[in-house]
Symmetry: C2
Subunit: 538 residues, 2 copies
């Protein structure tokens, strides 16, 4: 009999713990070949990610290399692009060589987790920062430090206030923890910035419900609201984020918050790979599984964690938490091994041990075995549980020591610029928003995708409207070609989406693609003629 | 009398220590306004950067936030783009708002350091990795881990060997330390990769001289060569890097090393901002200063560190090391304060205390006060000196503890993917190199800048030459438009430079710029016709 190959997709709690449980079952036999496919080569302890913001844990304390955790399993660090259910194959993105990477499976475990999906939300894909993985957390931290650095030397009070306003959408555990940690961090480090008034800092948490933390009891939620409020977080209830631009968060009802930092922890959706799969899905777009975690209607496909809609005995769904994922992993592993070797399948049921959320600054709320705990004790429990979950004693000792020493040291405020330069990008603008102003430095040109803009110039203190442009038309290229400042202001008449090209890319393209150069030369000529005619007319 | 403003550009050893020394002189008086302009908001302890590669020190242990080090000085985190000597103004790059940031100065201190400058070297700007700053070190570390991950699942032995070959050009302190740490790291972590044979790993150090480490005595250099050789570093003397492609390092004499990781620590040049400045320069392109560190022919411009050619009393030049920069900073600060307040100027002279270079794995070479030390003792001295230079006791304690605990823990192998996606890019190819192969996945299209390529297809096992293309012509767009694999192989006839556009950018541009779409549609049609004609002809 040939070895059966089990392929697990996803290196989070669900995927990793399934692999570990199958490895355990393999202890004496070698009848199963195990492959874990993960986009990253590390496992992230996701519940602790927000603590990275304030620096209360280090980057390396929140991640563990998957290879060090796995024993017999082979790790493929690749992103899965599609699944061929017919041929039982995964197609992964190419690596150094542009060749498809195909992995055959006998049993497939879909443990892809969830993503923050901004599609269909006005301006959010372009301008809101998600908070889901390690990269998001580091990017947000660096962005916040950048905003502080700029605020410290900005003389325009409007822009300075906007740089010092931080908006977080979503008042569940995730949003509350981000708001709490971000608030702690900016208020603490602001002291190191000469000439930066802590009174100008605003941290705003937006939530659609009548109270934050719907996951816990009202008592704990109100405790959290009080604590956060006292520390300077403004909580806006019964409203939601309606749209975003590079400069504003637009709330339902029309209120606009001027900000350069907008984080949204909602909405959470299943991994986009699932959309393309012809497998049964529940109403929440997650994979429909039976209580044995097998995808309904299949023989050899399993799903668990945030990617699966796991039924409770009374017809509801289990919540998507790390605790549940870890226990589902044990059941899935058992059932897969049973399906291969023969044996009785187990069903999954778990009530949850409790819920915990950090409020930053040595304070948390927790509901454990029916008890409600808040403050330092809850925070201490939270930390201890985390430390126990860390793999290996050496690592635990290191993290515990670093936590102890952190008491001595102020938080780091090193801004690691690793993002490279911004390339060709989409941007969203709301009505009346200025894309750029006469006199600004020209660093990008724009092509309108939808919407309309007007081009205006100041003449003797009066605004002169030169042109109105619509979809397919471009603007801003004159400053790039002539290497000068913007000669006019461009303002949106309607909500506008545009493609923007940085100076360098624009130069490379117009220099090397003759048609593109001719196209823009023609455009420039007609613009110059229009401007000339207008000048003569005056 | 109004306050005089001293502006220091550069946050390395030279700039930071000048600021600190001026702050000390300001202790009681407030007659000088001090501004430090730095591209990054942190100071890097540069001599320790290579140790980051092996993980023998942590990211946060090698940097300190400048704000925490500075007292009275204002920090502007910006990149300086130009200096107007006439108006005594610095022009810095814009921040969140596209407005120029102008800083007036009464005294200007140019402490910009040096950069790795690959300009004019065939293929190096496109394909060699520099090793100068923190970003370079992190990028190299992540790249190396990526190569190991790919090698672990690569079935083609040629590609696997190329992924496991690491080439370092430059046998001075910097190149030797990079080679040593990189070698330690890959050989240590390779054990965590199942199915990766450590025997396949090659680390090659290329040096033009007859021995490495020209900075120290022959005895120490030969010791270093022996140690490195024993640990598996191949040393190639009396040769140099002639060119680079994405797949090969080409040595003088024509030898080609197949590699995906090429690091070059040479050549080191002064900051490009200096090129544009109308100030006297020495033969090595550094700023000419007198022994008081004033730029020759100026009254209020000072230069030190790697940016300056500082004369010795006997007509030579002082070496560009951190030790020298720190001591120059004291002299420059004294002389600037003296120039403002009145007082006697001091001249700079310093013989150097010694030289040290780490060979990795608790081993180093050092020349101190004429003594030659090698092995563990030299390494221990090196570490101790570093620890003493760290600012603050809390920080020192933290780093010392983490070093102690590191003995317990294997090095991290977390690959942080922070680089974002690769945008429009230049690539260099050598003669006979394949840009892509028939059957590859199509992820980029190319526009030839210089050189010639041939387009060939396999027909019944024979190569059929379809076309030859030259400057201004493009290829590879068919696979992008039709979303299929490459229909032909493109091979360079001569050395070729090309602009490459990723799939996403190409789609955005052809969808939204009508001229560009028409241009490529026309091209596609003519290609299809040519292919059709060829097929009929056969």
């Amino acid at each position: 009999m040939s070895r059966q190959r089990v392929v697990i997709v996803g290196g989070g709690f669900a995927g990793l713990y399934t692999a570990l449980a199958i490895e355990k079952a393999l202890a004496k036999e070698d009848d199963i070949e195990l492959i874990l496919v993960s986009k990253e080569n590390y496992f992230v302890f996701q519940p602790m990610l927000p603590e990275l913001l304030s620096g209360s844990i280090g980057i390396m304390d929140v991640v563990s290399p998957l290879r060090r955790l796995l024993g017999r399993a082979d790790l493929h660090v690749r992103e899965v692009e599609s699944v061929d259910l017919e041929r039982q194959e995964l197609h992964a993105a190419p690596g150094f060589r542009p060749q498809p990477h195909i992995i055959h499976y006998d049993h497939l475990v879909l443990a892809l987790g969830a993503v923050t999906d901004f599609r269909g939300l006005r301006g959010l894909p372009e301008h809101a920062l998600p908070f889901k993985n390690l990269g998001d957390a580091l990017q947000l931290r660096n962005h916040v430090i950048h905003a502080l650095e700029e605020a410290a030397i900005e003389s325009d009070p409007r822009l300075r206030r906007s740089l010092l306003t931080f908006v977080i959408a979503g008042g569940g555990f995730s949003g509350v923890e981000v708001a709490a940690e971000l608030n702690d961090f900016v208020r603490e480090v602001a002291r190191s910035y000469r000439g930066l008034d802590a009174g100008e800092i605003r941290v705003v948490l937006i939530h659609s419900g009548t109270r934050i933390l719907p996951e816990v009891s009202e008592k704990l939620a109100l405790f959290a609201e009080r604590i956060l409020g006292r520390r300077g977080v403004e909580i806006r209830l019964q409203t939601r984020l309606d749209a975003a631009t590079g400069e504003e968060a637009v709330l339902k009802g029309g209120e606009r918050l001027s900000t350069r930092t907008l984080v949204s922890t909602i909405p959470s959706s299943p991994h986009p790979l699932l959309d393309a799969l012809d497998l049964p899905k529940a109403k929440n777009r997650r994979l429909e599984v039976d209580s044995r975690l097998r995808v309904c209607g299949t023989e050899n496909i399993w799903a668990l964690g945030d990617a699966a809609a796991v039924p409770t005995p009374d017809g509801g769904l289990h919540p998507a938490t790390a605790q549940h994922a870890i226990r589902q992993a044990g059941v899935a592993a058992h059932n897969i091994v049973a399906a291969i070797r023969g044996g009785e399948a187990r069903t999954f049921d778990f009530k949850g041990l409790g819920k915990m959320g950090s409020l930053g600054h040595r304070c948390a709320v927790a509901e454990v075995f029916g008890f409600q705990i808040s403050g330092f004790l809850a925070w201490w429990m939270w930390r201890t549980i985390y430390l126990m979950k860390l793999p290996g004693w050496g690592r635990r000792l290191k993290v515990a020591t670093s936590w102890t020493l952190d008491v001595l040291l102020p938080p780091e405020l090193v801004q690691l610029k690793l993002g490279g330069t911004r390339g060709i990008d989409r941007e969203h603008f709301e009505p009346n928003q200025e894309v750029f102003r006469e006199g600004d430095l020209g660093d990008r040109m724009y092509i309108i995708l939808t919407g309309r803009v007007e081009v205006v110039r100041l003449r003797d203190g009066e605004e002169d409207r030169i042109a109105e442009l619509g979809p397919g038309e471009s603007f801003g290229e004159m400053a790039l070609l002539n290497k000068t400042t913007r000669t006019a202001t461009v303002r949106c008449v309607e909500a506008t989406d545009a493609l923007s090209l940085p100076k360098g890319d624009f130069a490379a393209l117009t220099t090397n693609i003759p048609d593109m150069r001719r196209s823009f030369e023609g455009l420039m000529e007609s613009r110059a003629t229009a401007l000339g005619a207008r000048s003569r007319k005056d």
